[in-house]
Amino acid sequence: MIQPQTHLNVADNSGARQLMCIRIIGASNRRYAHIGDVIVAVIKEAIPNTPLKKSEVIRAVIVRTCKELKRDNGMILRYDDNAAVVIDQEGNPKGTRIFGAIARELRQLNFTKIVSLAPEVL
C-alpha cells in the first residue's frame, strides 16, 4: 500500500538508496500501489559517484511491500520492508544486480529481466 510521500528502499545497484513516491502510474486518482505497480519517485538519498543523483525524478516498480500479497492458492506473502527497483520508460531495470527476494507475480507483469536477476524468487 504505497502512496505518495512513502519512502521506499531500493533493491538494486542503480545508485539510489531511498526513494519517495510521488505518483502512481495507472488509473487516475488511484490510491495505493502494490507489488508490480509502477510509480514515479524522487531520489531522496543516493550513493556518491553514480549516474543517479539526489532529487532526480525517476520511475520505479515496487517489488516488496509490508502489506500482504495474496495468492489464489491461499498463500499470503508479507515482507519486512517496502522496496522498489529503478526502471526506465520501457520497463528494463537501470541497475545490473537485484538484492533481496522477488515475488513471482512480477513475471506475469512482463518484468522478466528483474525476475531473472533476482537471487531468490518467492
Binding site: 528502499n9 516488496r64 500482504e68 492458492n73 491461499g74 498463500m75 499470503i76 506473502l77 508479507r78 515482507y79 519486512d80 520492508d81 522496496a83 538484492f99 533481496g100 527476494a101 513471482r104 537471487p119 531468490e120 518467492l122
Partner: protein, 247 residues
Amino acid sequence: MQSLRGSIRLVRRQCSNNVDLKSNGSHFATATAKFHGSSIGFSNARFLGSLSKFTRIGSQAAMATPSNNGIPSVSVSSRSSRPGLLHLAAVLPPFTSRCITTVENTVESASQDSSASIPDVTPRIKFKRLDKTAKHIMQILDKEAVEEVRENREIPDIKPGYIVQLKVEVPENKRRVSVLKGIVIARRNAGLNTTFRLRRLVAGVGVESLFPLYSPNIKEIKVLDKKKVRRAKLYYLRDKMNALKKQ
C-alpha cells in the same frame, strides 16, 4: 390432631424431596434405605411423639427396623396405642407405603435409564433428528474433509515456536521447489482452513508466509526444533528479528 396432620404433611414433603433427590446421584440402594429409615423413623417419631403422652412405646421399635418399610412397626405400635387413633395410624402407613413405592419406582426407572444410555456408543454423526443435524451440518462436513486429508497425508502437529521445514510445490514450475525453513509464529484454527504463519530470512529480507495447513501444495512438513514460547502469536519477532531495521 394438628400435629398429626403436620406429620402427615411432613411425610408427604419428605417423600417428594426424596423423589427429587433420586433423579440424580448414583448410590440408589443405600441412599434409599437411609432416606426411608430417616423419613419414616422421623415421621414415626413425630407421630409417636404426639402419642407419647398416651403410650410408652418409644421410637426404639420404629428405629430398630430402618431398612424395612415402617409398616409392621407402626402397626405394632399402633396396636398398643389408643384405639381412637388407630384409624389414623392405619391411614398413615398407606401414605408412607405410597411414598415408598413411588420413590422406588423412580429409583428403578432412573437406574434403568442411566444403564441403558451408558453402553450406547454415540456415533460421530448423529441422525437422531434431522433438523438438529442440519444446525451443524457445516461442522460435520468440515470434519469429514479434514479427516479425508489427514488420511492421505501425514501432517504433524504445528504450534507456534516450532522450527519447521516445508516442501512446497509451485504449480507454475511443476518442480519440487522451495524447501522453506522458518519459525512458526502463528496458527489459526478454522477446520479445513487452518493456517499457520512462517517467518524466515530470505536473501537478507524477512519474509512472512501464511500457508493453509491442508493445502495440497504442501508436500511435506517436518518439525526440526521446538522453541519454548509463552505466547500463541509471536508477532514480537518482527521487531526482534528484523535485519533491515535501522538501529
